[in-house]
């Protein structure tokens, strides 16, 4: 590679390469599923470019395919991506010195993986890095993911249009959700959140506007919090509630 390429950028690209094993099939699914749900190739690729967040794209495709109310589709995208609030808050100090425009660009390409890799690196060598060099590593990761994601979606769109329906490639969408769900269920409160949310969503499947999904998610989150409360209570309350989130910076894939 050109020696004028900043070393941090190169490191970011290099560290991203192993992740592509998981990203490429995910992007292919996003492309195939869009076509199967009746979106045009341009809409499917547009979704990848404009939203650029895998799980929420698949949720939108899934719900559009079921003719869910448009407001519910947008709300679901928002809820699926809400975790990025935590990433935004956590990585913000490292972008403080950048111009507003560069910060906006960095925000656009913020993903689970870019956050997790960059924060690990930034937290690892606090002294060496100057703030002006900081975005290079981040951009190495984030832009590599962006390019591969868009290319993968395009290939999926082409592939999806050519494959017979009997292959049932659209079934990959709920499978991807399962792949993300299983690691997200890591303890009793998150298991309770998932079970209650799933049951409520099924019971509410007949509700108008796919409200069962939203109600299920809200009741599920409430269940998780309640179970967490009662666990802290029975543990004597000594551990406090302030560090609940430290263990899972990279939920989703």
């Amino acid at each position: 590679m050109d020696s004028r390429v900043p070393p941090d950028l190169r490191d970011g690209i290099r560290d991203t390469l192993p992740l592509l094993l998981g990203i490429v099939p995910f992007a292919l699914v996003a492309g195939v599923a869009g076509i199967e749900a009746g979106l045009t190739p341009l809409q499917t690729v547009g979704l990848s470019v404009v939203v650029f967040a895998g799980a929420s794209q698949l949720a939108a495709i899934d719900l559009l395919g079921r003719d869910a109310a448009l407001g519910v589709v947008v709300l679901t995208v928002v809820v699926v991506n809400l975790r990025m609030l935590m990433y935004s808050a956590s990585i913000a100090p490292y972008f403080r010195e950048l111009s507003a425009r560069v910060r906006a660009g960095c925000a656009y390409v913020l993903t689970d993986q870019a956050y997790a890799l960059s924060l690990a690196r930034y937290a690892g060598d606090r002294d060496r890095e100057t703030t002006t060099r900081r975005p290079y590593y981040y951009l190495g990761v984030a832009l590599t993911l962006w390019i591969v994601w868009q290319a993968g979606t395009v290939v999926g769109v082409v592939f999806g249009a050519a494959v017979p329906d009997s292959w049932r490639l659209g079934f990959a969408v709920p499978l991807v959700f399962l792949a993300l769900l299983v690691p997200a269920v890591s303890d009793v409160p998150s298991l309770g959140a998932a079970v209650v949310a799933g049951v409520v969503a099924v019971l509410g499947a007949g509700l108008p506007f796919n409200a069962g999904l939203i109600v299920g998610a809200v009741v599920g989150v409430a269940t998780g919090i309640a179970l967490d409360e009662s666990r802290l209570g029975s543990a004597g309350g000594g551990s406090g509630g302030g560090d609940v989130t430290d263990s899972d910076p990279a939920e989703g894939h």
């Binding site: 998981g22 991506n81 100090p93 997200a184 989150v221 919090i225």
Partner: protein, 111 residues
Amino acid sequence: MATSYGPLSIWAVIVAGGLATFAIRLSFIHLFGRVDEVPPWLERALVYVPAAVLAALVAPDFAPASATVEAALTPELLGGAAAVAAAWRTEDVLWTVAAGMVGLHVARFLL
């Protein structure tokens, strides 16, 4: 399975979802200095969002059409079970999707 929405509705969803997602990503990166922490109550709730939302999304795709045992044994459910087993073992999207698709088609052949 295919949507009956027209192009205008779909583009509206894409743009609205994209703008909202960008706003979430930009929120603290933009505001840093004025707001520097996610409120603790929100942070606690966010911990359970992935498990709850993903379960609510996926459950209707696998729910049986009726309550009898025969009706519950669908290729989709068996494919889903294979996928959960693979997800548990590998925590890998590729293996999970592969196991689920193989499970679906084997079950369609056998049932």
